[in-house]
Structure formats: structure tokens, C-alpha cells
Symmetry: C2
Subunit: 200 residues, 2 copies
């Protein structure tokens, strides 16, 4: 992709974003290249120029882009998280991001459910997104410990997994209810893991 | 459906189960009535005899059946939950159920993601399944409180939502990793909400 012109880059990005929208609305199985072409006014040869691997490659590009968006929404707090206040600012930015999506869905979480059984390469992209995300949150938990705000017996990786699970599962419950309260309750409970003080 | 013979009931059930398998493997969007007919060796007229509303009605029947299976897997503990031991037996039965599915997926949770935006009637079935499930778990939390094992300041509905979110989100993370550890970490953290003793 190094040789893409600015215009080519924009066209490629337009295709990725439209595919992401269709996947959120109809699932991977319900998304067709024909629909993507129609919505982006691109020809078959254009589409395969940018994505020689066809739908599979396009869906992976969507996963990578959605993952980058999700991480960007957590800036800059996700790189700090050394205080409870920093975690709170992070939490608020993330919840605002999901609200801004217009529905209670995590693009990466939605892909995870569809990817696991059917598309091992996509599952690998999703698994890596979760690992990268978990590593950042675990680093924050360690900063809390290093600063003496959290007991050293707490396992940073398990706390990170609990918090990510609360987000994903809270969204699963909030979606059909059209109400964010399960997400907020789950995240609050998961963040209680940060309230175990270091012994004095 | 009152007039179904035993044979008719079995055929209908066979169609429901096969559709559930295809939805888990390909999503609602990737499941077609033609594929279901081929796998169950049923004719178009048979299929529409049992499901006059077509695919939408069939998918709702799958959601109801999966919801019933999920609740049955939690018997009998889900009706007790008055002690930490009862919660532990419940947790184990539920995790065994998900392992027994052969993949880390909750049939109801998977439907929730696909249903919310596209199919309001299905979203209503899924929302009701979550509400029924949450009501049982909240009743267990109240039994813990009535027995003096848990503080009265704890909100049973929020605890129930946290626990269900940990399950759903833990599965979302466990799927692409092919490893149940995020589910176990998330559920352990959510169940800590039950460890707040009543003041003496």
C-alpha cells in the first residue's frame, strides 16, 4: 500500500468505513461486496485493486481500523491510569465513544463473536486487538501498584480482562435494552478491583 | 401450534436446532432458509407450515429455545443462590454449559449483537431473556441479604447485571483467544460483589 496516492488512500478509507457500517448493521455474513460497491460508487476492479484478497482482506482492514479508532478514543488517559482519577477520565471517554457510535455496540467485540468460528485470520486480528488493549490497561494497574495506591497481590492481567469483559458484556446487555445502565453497573463493579489498598 | 403431532413437534424442533447451529456458525445474516432446508431435509412447504412468518419467526423460535436451554443449564442452583456455595455451584454449571457448547459463545449474547439494530421483535425476545435471567440472579442476591450474608446497601439488580455482563464479555474475549481465562477472571471479579458482609 506504500504507493497509494492521497486520493487512493481516501478511496480505500471510504471503502473500509462503509464496510464497517454495513457489518455493524448486517453482520459479516450479511455484508456483500456488491452492497459496498454500490454505497461507495466504486467499480469491481477498484475494489480488488485496494483489496486483492477480496472480502476477507477488507473485513480484516475494517477490524484494524475499528481497533485503531477504539484506542484513539481512550487517548491520552489509557497511557496513564496511575490514579483513580485517570481511570475515571478514561472510563468517561470510552463510554462517550460508545454513545457517539449511536448504538451500544463495540465494533471489535461484535467482530469477535462472528470471527471466532469462521475466520481464523480475522480472529487473530481481533485477539491481537484485545491483547494490545489488555496490555495498556494492565500497565495502568501496575502504575497504581508502583505508586502504592493498589495492593501488590492484585493480578494486573486479570483485572484488565475483567474490565474489558465488563465493557463488552455491558454493551451486549445494553444493546437490546436500549439503555446504558448495565454497561455502567458492570464497569463500576469491575473498577472496584482498583479499590484494594496496598497494606501499610 | 397446539395441533402439532409428536412427529410434527420433532420436525419443528429439528429445524430450530439446525437453524441455531447455522446462526452460531454464520450469523443471522449468513443463515438462509435454503441451507436450513438442505440440512434438515425439509421442503419449502414444510418449513412454512411450521414457521408461517419465515426466517424472522424461525430466528425468534431459536432465541426462545436457546434461552430455555441456557436457563435449564443453571438448574437447580439458579433458584437458590442464598449462599456463596450455591453461587459457586451455579457458576460451575454455567461454565460447564458453555464449554459443552464446544466454543466460547453464548447463543443469546450472540443474538443480542445481531438483533439490536436490525430486528426489533428479536431484540425484544433477547431483552426479555436477559430480564428473566437478571431477575433470578437478583433474587439470589436478595436471599443472601435476607440471610444476613451480604450488606443491604448492595443493589441486587446492579450486581445481577454485572455478573451477566462478566459472562457475556468474558465469552467475547475468550472466543478469539480460544482460552477461557478471561471468562473466569471476569466472573470471579463480578462475584466479589457478594463478599461485602452485612454490618454487625
Amino acid at each position: 500500500m506504500a504507493e497509494l496516492t492521497e486520493r487512493g488512500r481516501r478511496t480505500r478509507q471510504r471503502i473500509v468505513e462503509e464496510t464497517g457500517r454495513q457489518i455493524l448493521a448486517a453482520g459479516i455474513g450479511g455484508t456483500t461486496l456488491d452492497d459496498v460497491r454500490a454505497a461507495t460508487l466504486t467499480s469491481k476492479s477498484q475494489l480488488f485493486h485496494y483489496f486483492p484478497g477480496g472480502k476477507d482482506e477488507l473485513v480484516r482492514a475494517v477490524a484494524e481500523w475499528e481497533g485503531a479508532q477504539l484506542m484513539a478514543a481512550q487517548e491520552p488517559w489509557v497511557h496513564d491510569l496511575s490514579t483513580r482519577e485517570s481511570w475515571e477520565a478514561w472510563r468517561q471517554a470510552l463510554v462517550d465513544y460508545y454513545i457517539g457510535q449511536g448504538r451500544w455496540a463495540c465494533p471489535i467485540g461484535s467482530l469477535a463473536s462472528e470471527a471466532a468460528a469462521r475466520n481464523p485470520e480475522l480472529a487473530a486480528v481481533v485477539a491481537q486487538a484485545f491483547r494490545d488493549w489488555g496490555a495498556l490497561l494492565a500497565a495502568g494497574v501496575r502504575r497504581m501498584q508502583d505508586a502504592g495506591r493498589l495492593g501488590g497481590h492484585v493480578d494486573p492481567d486479570r483485572v484488565a480482562a475483567s474490565i474489558m469483559s465488563a465493557i463488552q458484556g455491558g454493551l451486549v446487555l445494553s444493546q437490546p435494552l436500549h439503555d446504558p445502565w448495565p454497561l455502567e453497573a458492570a464497569l463500576e463493579q469491575a473498577l472496584h478491583a482498583l479499590d484494594t489498598p496496598a497494606p501499610r
